[in-house]
Amino acid sequence: MLEATRLAWRALMANKLRAGLTMLGIIIGVGAVITLMSVGDGVQAYITDQFRSIGANLLIVFPGSVQDPMAGMASLISDKAALLTVGDAEALADRARVPDLVAVAPQLTRFGRVSVGRDETLTQVSGVTPEFMQVRTWYPVVGEFIGTQDMEGRSRVVVLGQTVVKDLFADNPYPLGETVKINNIAFRVVGVMEEKGGATAFSDQDDMVFVPLTTAQTRLFPSRTLAGERGVSTIMGQAVSDERIDAVKEQISTVLRERHDIAFRDEDDFSIISQAGLIDVFGQIMDVITIFLGSIAAVSLVVGGIGIMNIMLVSVTERTREIGLRKAVGARRRDILQQFLIEAVALAILGGVVGTGVGAAGAATVTYLIGEFEAKLSADAVLLATTVSALVGLASGLYPAWRAARLNPIDALRYE
């Protein structure tokens, strides 16, 4: 075995250019797979991180069936009549009925035009209650948040997110007391939220303004449910601890099913999503994307395998006399088979190792270019790529090696 490996190495070294070109197929294939898997893992880790920053004890209740959480989230941006109401939020805040929920924050969020003079930005306008601060553990860096009086008075006060401040008040990071217009209604700035971070293509938590929930419901986005109640788009809740998340979900579900008059057999008309649930959903989506891209990259591995088979067949023909001689001096079929198989596998593994390097460089380049997340080279990906390339080498070396092993020594020795 050791001898055969030495032999394979020498055979490859004897024809470096050819070996290099043959490996190129595997190098590109493995490199592409590794880069894509690393970027996929990086994006997933990044998004997971983003969700984690929301808070581990956080639960979000969306309108819509639990079977289809994404559709429920779609109601965040659509103007479809909200199925959750202030009444629901109040019921959930009742410690007697939902003992494991320490804080409840209903939220009515719509896109709105926020402007100062001629500058205008389209951002998320969220009507919230004072509990929002505690539930999201997110506080103003200057000024104050929406207070109880603001709620009762339906005040036209607004707390700005950092991105909105940058968009509208380029020279003034703390524009307290300034007036902004939301959908052409004037609001006074009473606070600026601390930076939450995480500007991505997916979401920018700082691109948001907060107004009292009551103001949003009456002045900005007036709408009522069929029963005449004021709607909210989501209800966030903070569980007493992350171990109690499942119990809280159960309690919320019981209360809301009762309030929504849902028959025993029917599905929920709302969904409860926890941080863990969100991470799961996005993880699944990312997995599908990664696997899809990975399989496209894997095609080039197959092409690389064909390249190896091709060159091995040529090599067997070229070395017919050598094979004949080896057989004459006592090599068995198995010895010849092994020699050529190892050569093919060595080509593939070498390609796999170089390809891993190329993939790592690719991942590093993506990380450098995008900068938002780190495309990590996972041990899994390296192991997978190396194993797969070894298997590709084995598969593509098998037929040429078998041809070599089966050569008749007499004919082989006579071969010109």
Partner: protein
């Protein structure tokens, strides 16, 4: 008395070339005793090569029996034949058949690799074998750095290295000038005389053949005559 190294009885070999049947050997019987040096002569197409292939266990006869040192070689499969070649037979070819880009030491030790001999022992044996053919100083030389005669001597060292029962040399001097040819032939004769190695060689050069002690003439797949050479021609080394 020791069993003959080679004992062939009524061996035939028939090839099928498409529709045509080629009778390469038509009933050959032959014995070679230990320590003998023997030449096979005959025109081309007489079956010399086929006979050598059968003797060398590279090919199986169509019918007839073949005992090598008393062991029945008939009916062995490919791997068992490879095993016999590995342990009992050393080949010397007309075209040397040394591996390119491989130095003399590694060419000589090739049979030992398949015999599973450890590296350290391979080294001592290669030194001894190359010493026996007068090339002790050329271990690290590639075939392209050696003359034709030297290449053939490396090939002989390779044939010797497993201490075979017999060396089969197919036109060993065919590709050499007369001087190197004589040297190679002298080497074979010396190995036979000094180490008692059995040698069967094929040649169409009467001078080469006459330097052995026995000549078997083949024609048309049959033994057409056999002569004992009473006074073998001396070839200078």
């Amino acid at each position: 008395m020791e069993a003959p190294v080679i004992q062939i009885q009524d061996v035939t070999k028939v090839y099928h070339m498409g529709e045509v049947e080629v009778h390469a050997l038509r009933g050959i019987s032959l014995e070679v005793q230990p320590g003998e040096i023997m030449a096979i002569m005959g025109p081309s197409g007489s079956g010399k090569s086929t006979l050598m292939n059968v003797i060398g266990c590279l090919d199986q006869p169509t019918s007839g029996s073949y005992f090598m040192e008393g062991v029945d070689v008939g009916g062995l499969d490919d791997d068992q034949l490879a095993d016999i070649r590995k342990r009992k037979i050393g080949f010397v070819f007309q075209t040397f058949n040394l591996l390119a880009r491989t130095n003399a030491f590694e060419n000589v030790t090739l049979p030992l690799i398949y015999a599973g001999v450890p590296r350290a022992e391979r080294h001592t044996r290669a030194r001894a074998a190359l010493g026996a053919v007068g090339l002790a100083g050329r271990m690290a030389h590639q075939p392209t750095e050696l003359s034709g005669g030297e290449q053939q001597r490396v090939a002989i060292a390779r044939a010797l290295i497993n201490n075979p029962s017999i060396i089969l040399a197919d036109e060993p001097t065919g590709n050499l000038d007369s001087k190197s040819g004589a040297e190679v032939m002298a080497l074979l004769l010396r190995l036979n005389r000094q180490q008692g190695i059995t040698v069967v060689l094929v040649s169409h050069d009467p001078n080469i053949a006459r330097s052995t002690s026995r000549i078997v003439h083949l024609s048309d797949g049959q033994v057409s005559g056999e002569e004992i050479v009473p006074q073998p021609v001396e070839v200078g080394e």
